[in-house]
Symmetry: C2
Subunit: 184 residues, 2 copies
Amino acid sequence: MSLQAVPREKRQGLIIVYTGNGKGKTTAALGMALRAVGYDWRILMVQFIKGDWMYGELESYQRLAPNLDLKRMGKGFVGIMGDQKPLEEHQEAARVALQYVKENMDKDYDLIILDEINVALKEGLVSVADVLELIKQKPPYLHLVLTGRYAPQEIIDAADLVTEMTEIKHPFQKGILAQPGVDY
Amino acid sequence: MSLQAVPREKRQGLIIVYTGNGKGKTTAALGMALRAVGYDWRILMVQFIKGDWMYGELESYQRLAPNLDLKRMGKGFVGIMGDQKPLEEHQEAARVALQYVKENMDKDYDLIILDEINVALKEGLVSVADVLELIKQKPPYLHLVLTGRYAPQEIIDAADLVTEMTEIKHPFQKGILAQPGVDY
């Protein structure tokens, strides 16, 4: 049994940006997705950068079924973590991802998360103009979340809610490595 | 089927703080809880401040059953939102909550979230010394997340990972009211 959510025609869809160099951006988007299923919303999460190594999270996403559609379209980190793929391959993947969102954003979703799209913007995988166009075209009730460090000023200007996550202290500073449940 | 998590004896439990005036602190903790169920961890979330008006989130928490135990012990906001309760009542509730965590933190939990405890510290509902003592006594494998604005310096000093969420832009600035799915 789900709570009665506010009907779409009375909803004011927000542009929400989680940016900054601190941890918690994608995690907060994930928390929003979890909260949204409480209202029986439909959620689309598109990963623009992350590759196929985050198996740890997939099991979690199952808990949000059937409300969550997850599209893992990114080709992994660009130019780091041993990446040898030509930039064109990353660009093509990001372009396909953005096109997918454009074509599906009026298909019954209440919340769409563009995960790490700010990084895709920074790396030149997609253009700011294309993302601004998507924001402009979105259905009025739809909440759109854009995550990733380096959010460009134009995106911040277009957003309703922007939180900057700043790293004050990181366990790597103490030599503690990334670990499941915390980092992925 | 759950992923094999790192066994407890090989796990380095972290003290994680989400603080700052921006949105996303509790939401990020919620995202961590969701991720943690992917490893079939057991999670305890104790709300130190929030009262009984967040019905919207309860349905979401069901999705994390049976991994999540939620204890809503706070008596609502202190001195605002029409609160008329004497400070002692808030203090007693926060003290009971902290005691509950102390008595249960070795009871098979992998992740414990002390939600809004930084605000409880700021309001003097619990003492920094008591929270530092709890941190000191925690099992080594246990991850502890402390959320809420106003994290005191002593807590930051004791933490491994600290993210400050800063409000860059808020929809209230545009006159948009809080709404389900985004704010609660």
